[in-house]
């Protein structure tokens, strides 16, 4: 990405009405251009001081080669690192198709922790088909590496992952995987160790509290544009991460404009107006009459990429089936094991031990 595009994107970011902003550097591998990250953060900081907004910076990295000078720089600002950890060594390396990826990631995580702080690095798990048979091993690998939470999340049928052959079967297996993982995590918490499952916590927060969550996938109106926007290295603006993945495969359906366009023509432009007609659960068939309307979210990009149109068709939607199964399961737990589980769930939500 050019410096001009980077600064122009940051200008847009500060035009957003939101008081709290998150600026996430994605790649490829952003740490390959550390100077650009630094310039971006410095430019943003100058605007932050003028506007009084709060900003969190996230660097999404494979953790393999984070330069020392970048870590030194980051320790002065509100920067967190996000990396990928799929579970135990053999599983992580098999998923990544490399023999030494795990060692490098773990070393990178430790390096960030030493340089800028214990809780400044988080990990995301990719649940491959192979992962589905090993929920406990994955959770134990997170615990062994001193993480006190995990985000059990399924693959999205985008980008490279689109080659997976049998998605309905994958999601059925994923739901079983989720249930076993959650049960195991609950047992860990009952033994006195605080260990949080993030997806459950977000859904519980929607069910039990008056507070909103920032998770793009479970929002209505949709998280795209309203909660996230992607400024891409190709000079264009996309509705979401997934929209950018589609573009990588030659489909520019969710390209909203050029980075050089003005703010209004992107955020209130024709393309956003079109998508806004299908981006709320309140007014799309199969969602508008669903009991979980306020808990679930609308996802036009996902509908488009899996079903061929933005509106989507709920009866055959794997997303709908997966979310329904998971929310059902959480209500089932609240219904049958309330006394036992509420203290644990409340601790996850409040973060108070």
């Amino acid at each position: 990405m050019s410096k001009e595009d980077l600064f122009r994107s940051i200008d847009h970011m500060y035009m957003s009405p939101a008081p709290h902003l998150t600026m996430e550097f994605q790649g490829g591998e952003p740490t390959l251009v550390p100077e650009l990250i630094k310039e971006g953060i410095l430019y943003s900081e100058s605007k932050r001081e003028q506007t009084g907004k709060s900003v969190t910076y996230v660097i999404c990295t494979n953790s393999v080669n984070i330069p020392d000078h970048l870590l030194d720089f980051c320790s002065n600002y509100n920067v967190v690192f996000s990396t990928s950890l799929d579970g135990p060594e053999w599983l992580h390396n098999t998923n990544r198709g490399k023999s030494d990826s795990y060692q490098k990631v773990i070393a990178g995580i430790e390096k960030v922790r030493d340089a800028i702080g214990e809780y400044k690095v988080s990990a995301l798990m990719t649940t491959s088909e192979l992962s589905l048979d090993h929920p406990k091993e994955i959770i134990d690998a997170y615990r062994a590496n001193k993480f006190n939470s995990i985000f059990i999340r399924s693959l999205n049928p985008y980008g490279l992952a689109k080659d997976n052959e049998d998605w309905p079967r994958y999601f059925d297996r994923f739901v079983e995987f989720y249930k076993i993982a959650l049960d195991y995590i609950i047992e860990i918490n009952k033994s006195g160790e605080l260990f949080v499952e993030e997806l459950t916590t977000m859904i519980l927060k929607k069910i039990l509290t008056p507070f909103p969550i920032g998770f793009v996938d479970l929002q209505s109106p949709s998280g795209i544009v309203n909660g996230v926007i992607v400024y891409n290295y190709d000079g264009y603006v996309y509705a979401s991460d997934e929209s950018r993945m589609l573009a990588e495969n030659g489909d520019y359906k969710f390209r909203l404009g050029k980075i050089t366009d003005n703010y209004e023509s992107i955020f209130y432009g024709r393309r956003v107006q079109e998508v806004s007609r299908v981006w709320a659960t309140e007014y799309i068939a199969g969602c508008s009459e669903c009991a979980y309307l306020s808990i679930c979210g609308a996802d036009p990009v996902r509908n488009y990429s899996t079903q061929g149109d933005e509106y989507g068709f709920r009866p055959s939607s794997t997303l709908c089936k997966k979310n329904m199964s998971i929310i059902n399961h959480i209500f089932h737990l609240l219904d049958t094991r309330r006394e036992e589980l509420m203290p644990i769930f409340q601790r996850w939500i409040t973060g108070v031990e």
Partner: protein
């Protein structure tokens, strides 16, 4: 609720002058000053001149204002309080039920629930600290767990939540059959409500109830809340291992719980 004891004469002007004099004669080190009633917001704008006077004379003193909160349903009234310039103020506001009909029945004033709720939102909007007060009586105590849920879902911003045992005097005696209940008879509902709010991270306390009428789980929430001039202990309290931590009794209450008894053995925590 009401002033204790009830008073029908118009004493506003006389008391106002008297209060100004009291403020003028108070030491500057006074930690806290309570403004109560009746209903202090019935003073209208005079309440603000009183508060401004305290702010000028006793800038370090914390003000504890007890009000039903209804006047603050008018946002301009809340903003006027803000203009008094004191950040050192805590508003104690009673909420009697999560159910508007029950709340309005207890206040004997239709629409008071809606006004108090709106008042609470306006006060939060202006950045005030609020202590929500739940007076425990026969009518409201059956829904305490639901009340806790209502508070968390609708008023999670309040600074404190206080569950308050009732003083058996004034209108309580007159309405004995309707409102009096022995704390022993609601101790489980109270425990559920307090523990629920505590787990949600709210700052919860139990006022005016002795340790011996509370489930042991609630002892750590019980505070010494009774004003010294009307606080007493029973003779057998001398035998109680928790007397020092306990709020004791209202000397003014003409009826006490059947559960009063010295606690002799403290189990290890």
């Amino acid at each position: 609720m009401c002033c204790q004891p009830p008073n029908n004469s118009n004493d506003l002007e006389r008391n106002y002058i008297k209060n100004i004099k009291l403020i003028d004669s108070a030491p500057s080190t006074l930690p806290s000053i309570g403004i109560t009633g009746g209903e202090p917001t019935l003073l209208g704008d005079k309440l603000f001149s009183l508060i401004s006077h305290i702010k000028a004379k006793l800038p370090e003193t914390e003000i504890h204002l007890l009000t039903n909160g209804r006047a603050f349903a008018d946002i301009t009234y809340a903003k006027k309080l803000k203009q008094c310039g004191t950040d050192n103020i805590l508003l104690g506001i009673p909420l009697h039920s999560d159910c508007s009909i029950d709340h309005d029945y207890i206040t004997q004033s239709k629409g008071s629930f809606d006004e108090t709720m709106l008042g609470l939102y306006n006060l939060e909007r202006c950045g005030f600290d609020v202590e929500l007060r739940i007076v425990l009586n026969r009518i409201t105590c059956q829904r305490l767990p639901q009340m806790a849920n209502f508070i968390y879902r609708n008023l999670p911003f309040v600074r404190y939540v206080a569950f308050m045992g009732m003083e058996y005097t004034g209108y309580t005696i007159k309405n004995h059959d309707l409102v009096w209940i022995d704390p022993l008879d609601y101790k489980d509902q109270l425990e559920t409500a307090v523990c629920e709010l505590n787990r949600w991270g709210l700052n919860v306390s139990v006022f005016n109830l002795t340790h011996c009428v509370l489930n042991e789980n609630l002892w750590k929430f019980a505070v010494k809340s009774i004003s010294d001039w009307k606080n007493e202990y029973a003779e057998f309290c001398d035998e109680c291992a928790l007397k020092e931590k306990c709020c004791g009794l209202f000397a003014t209450s003409r009826k006490q719980s059947k559960g009063l008894q010295p606690i002799k053995v403290i189990l290890c925590e």
